[in-house]
């Protein structure tokens, strides 16, 4: 039966190739615009660490000035970053099952390899829990331990890309590498790892690449490594030394806690609040008590990772698809009614209404499928175009990462095309099925 419907559908499409092509094109364009928009949205709204996103919490404390909130536009939100003393206290207290304190920095990397120019490498200065907490995959070796943080010991973990660049991709564990003024021993090399959005540090753009190398947290203080993210201050430091900066109310550190259950979460919230109360008693933190724990999804939301533009485009793309569908409905109706005498003949020869509807729906779905495939191709072309025009090393290749089509998108696209076809075909098929055969036979 299906084979018969399919043959009829193909015959019908061949009878009006122009009209059929127009309908396929309309669906394809609607689908292509939606797919391009969805792909970028999907990349922005992706949960970068789904297996743990509800156990990892960005910890924030409102340490800001009594005079005004941290962000005038969102006065209810505490700063995203912590002061050194608060971060050190929270990390040292070990009230969470794991926590990590870190920031982004940079140092000149001078490769020993011939032909590789020195470059300013992006560093993550982090306590050792980073790799375990964020499920960072190693290709060779491993991270370091608490003793290396405290030392600090001259050990470094390299990204996949840095290892390619500096050691030609070989297992470089045990090799030495000079970053700035210090020689570090490579203890680990990561697999390619670029969580997108870069949830653990959104300061320098949500879609920038992960850092080139990771060094123990203690080096930050020992070398006074610069802050590449944001440093925000509301109260002047008491003096000019680095120690004065560390003691100040400037916020610049990221702090995450791993809290496996909601009970852990509540306990930790109480712990942080108690700490803040004790600080208030000591004359710090003049604002009302406002300490917030954000899990990964809430964190991405709080930092508005999905851009407004993209939400606008989703709306416009759906409306565009709507126009294409209305268009297809009109064309289908015209086409079906044009072939009504033939349908009348089939009805007269014994085809039931359901047969007629099924026959026409087959044709519609075929058009939808063809539109979907063509739309997918157009979308791939469109995304490649966006990549080609806008991707550059300057914006951390963010367009590169936002324009990748994945299998989910392919499936969603094809499903959407079929659904679109079905919706568009419903009324015309029903209408042609309902028509009495005699009317059309008469005009023959």
């Amino acid at each position: 039966m299906f084979a018969y419907d399919l043959r009829l559908a193909l015959d019908s499409m061949k009878r009006h190739p122009g009209l059929s092509a127009l309908m396929v094109l309309a669906i394809a364009l609607g689908i292509a615009v939606c797919t391009v928009t969805f792909t970028i949205y999907h990349a922005m709204a992706t949960n970068p660490i789904p297996q743990k996103s509800d156990q990892l919490y960005a910890v924030t404390l409102d340490t800001w000035s009594a005079e005004r909130p941290y962000d005038d536009e969102k006065p209810e939100q505490p700063p995203q970053l912590l002061t050194y003393r608060d971060a050190m206290f929270l990390h040292g207290a070990k009230a969470a099952s794991r926590s990590v304190v870190m920031y982004k920095s940079g140092a000149l990397l001078i490769p020993a390899r011939e032909g590789v120019k020195p470059f300013n490498s992006q560093l993550r200065v982090t306590s050792h829990e980073f790799f375990g907490m964020f499920d960072v995959p190693f290709a060779y070796g491993q991270g370091w331990d608490a003793a290396a943080d405290a030392g600090p010991q001259p050990v470094v973990v390299l990204s996949h890309e840095t290892n390619e660049k500096v050691f030609g991709g070989a297992n470089s564990v045990g090799q030495m590498l000079k970053l700035g003024k210090v020689e570090y021993r490579v203890v680990g090399v990561l697999q390619p790892w670029n969580p997108s959005p870069k949830f653990f540090d959104l300061n320098n753009g949500a879609f920038e690449e992960a850092e080139d190398a990771y060094v123990p947290y203690g080096w930050g203080k020992a070398l006074e490594l610069p802050v590449y993210g944001n440093t925000n201050c509301w109260k002047p430091e008491t003096g000019e030394s680095y120690q004065d900066f560390l003691n100040s109310e400037c916020v610049w550190l990221q702090f995450w806690a791993e809290l496996p259950t909601l009970a852990d979460r509540d306990k930790y919230q109480a712990f942080v609040d108690n700490y803040a109360r004790s600080q208030k008693a000591a004359g710090r933190m003049p604002r009302p008590l406002n300490n917030r724990l954000y899990d990964v999804e809430q964190w991405l939301d709080r930092n508005e990772v999905v851009q407004k533009d993209n939400r606008v485009l989703i709306g416009i793309a759906l409306m565009f698809l709507g126009v294409c569908l209305v268009n297809v409905v009109g064309l289908l109706l015209a086409k079906f009614l044009n072939a009504a005498p033939l349908t009348g003949l089939r009805r007269a020869l014994g085809a039931s209404r359901r047969d007629i509807v099924r026959q026409h729906m087959t044709e519609v779905l075929l058009i939808g499928l063809a539109g979907g495939v063509l739309g997918l191709l157009l979308a791939v072309g469109g995304l490649a175009g966006i990549r080609a025009i806008y991707s550059s090393d300057f914006n951390g290749s963010s367009y590169e990462r936002l324009t990748q089509i994945d299998p989910v998108i392919v499936l969603v696209t094809l499903a959407l095309a079929l659904l679109a076809g079905a919706i568009a075909g419903l009324y015309p098929s029903w209408r042609i099925g309902r028509t009495a055969p005699a009317v059309y036979l008469k005009t023959q």
Binding site: V323, N327, G330, L333, Y390, S392
Partner: protein, 401 residues
């Protein structure tokens, strides 16, 4: 012209007409709002940044060995850069304008964070800073080399005298000239306004107060320092090469990293806005194309199913122009219905966009523009089928009876 027969024929089979009208309505809503967004982005990208964007480039560097000597090294490099014949001016600077990264601070007209307040995006530059940006003063004078200092590392430091843009001056002193006035930092340190810059954009093009900029006579910390160079017109690319070569010849404890033009940096900063504008333009073009094809398809179909009826009308005396007018009028009626519905949809969509995404409210003349545009597109799409209808021979009427 009598539209009664058109109306009665539409009443008998309204589906096709309703579909076309619906298409036009949706298309109008999208086109008008997209166009509005495009124009806003276009205006944003094409604002005058005040700065001499085409001739400026930046040299990135970092200290690399113990022979690096802070201010001495920087001054040596600046001398090297300034000695190049195609270089107009050069300065060390703490951040890159129009790049999305920079520093800001708040100032007040009275101590203790009292009085009027301005948030300024500041650049730390030396005495050639003003000239390297390519901006001019409307009042006062540039600071001279003697007050340029390299301060200790402390966020509360502030220079004794600075230059501010007119935007800042007006925010602090709306009624009088800001020149020579003393303002105060958040920590109540007094600062004198030495000069007022006509107009320039700072680091963050997305910021509402992108024109609130100040220049500080300060040698920045090496962590953030880079060199900003302004070439003679047309010599930028040659100078970028020569500057890198000349600096690499000097071994003074730092390595040169990337050399980039401001044009490249600004283009990247505006990439999102440009992408949005291009994307929406493509959507508009496709939309109008699809709508036109739909209108054409239905009109053609209508004509082909009514061939006999047209022949009959012709046979009983209707002229070719009558037939043409009939179909065009029918199309115009349907389009107008769509356009009216479309105006409502466009306003709703515009309202939704402005409330949900804090975009400006849709300007009404875009609606007028969209309405006229769609009328034209629709008429053009229907013209060929209508003309074909007018060419139907009266003899058709007799043939198939």
């Amino acid at each position: 012209m009598d539209i009664k027969p058109i109306l009665s024929s539409l009443r008998r089979s309204p589906t096709g007409a309703i579909l076309v009208a619906l298409q036009i309505a949706l298309a109008l809503a999208i086109v008008v709002n997209s166009l509005f967004i495009i124009v806003q982005r276009f205006e944003k990208v094409n604002r005058d940044p005040g700065v001499d964007v085409p001739n400026i480039f930046f040299v990135g560097w970092v200290p690399s060995s113990d022979s690096y000597q802070g201010e001495v090294t920087m001054r040596e490099d600046l001398a090297t850069l300034r000695s190049l014949p195609g270089v107009k001016a050069a300065t060390v600077i703490n951040a890159v304008p129009l790049s999305g990264g920079g520093s800001s601070t708040s100032v007040f007209t009275e101590p203790n964070e009292k009085g009027r307040r301005a948030d300024m995006n500041y650049f730390e530059v030396d005495e050639q800073g003003l000239d390297t940006f390519g901006v001019t003063l409307t009042e006062g004078r540039n600071f001279d080399a003697t007050i340029v200092t390299k301060p200790p590392r402390n966020s509360s430091f502030s220079p004794s005298g600075i230059l501010v843009t007119q935007d800042v001056a007006k925010e602090l002193f709306p009624k009088e000239s800001a020149l020579g006035k003393t303002i105060y930092t958040g920590t109540s340190q007094p600062v004198t306004i030495l000069g007022i810059i006509d107009h320039m954009h700072g680091s963050w093009p997305g910021w509402d107060n992108v024109g609130d900029v100040a220049l500080f006579p300060v040698i920045p910390d090496e962590t953030y320092a880079r060199y900003m160079v302004r070439a003679q017109p047309g010599q930028r690319d040659a100078m970028m090469k020569q500057a890198e070569e000349a600096l690499n010849k000097v071994d003074n404890g730092r390595v040169i990293l990337k050399v980039r033009s401001l044009e490249y940096i600004a283009a990247n900063t505006y990439a999102d806005d440009r992408a949005m504008a291009v994307y929406l333009s493509v959507v508009i073009a496709l939309l109008l194309g699809i709508a036109a094809l739909g209108i054409f398809g239905l009109a053609a179909f209508n004509v082909s199913t009514r061939t006999k009826q047209i022949g009959t009308r012709r046979a009983v005396g209707a002229r070719r122009t009558d037939i043409l007018k009939y179909f065009l009028a029918e199309n115009w009626l349907i389009t107008s219905l769509g356009v009216v519905l479309g105006c409502v949809l466009a306003l709703l969509l515009g309202y939704w966009l402005s409330t949900t995404f804090e975009l400006p409210r849709l300007k009404l003349y875009y609606l007028v523009l969209g309405v006229v545009g769609l009328w034209i597109v629709s008429l053009a799409a229907a013209f060929r089928p209508a003309r074909r209808a007018s060419l139907v021979s009266p003899a058709i009427a007799t043939r198939t009876v």
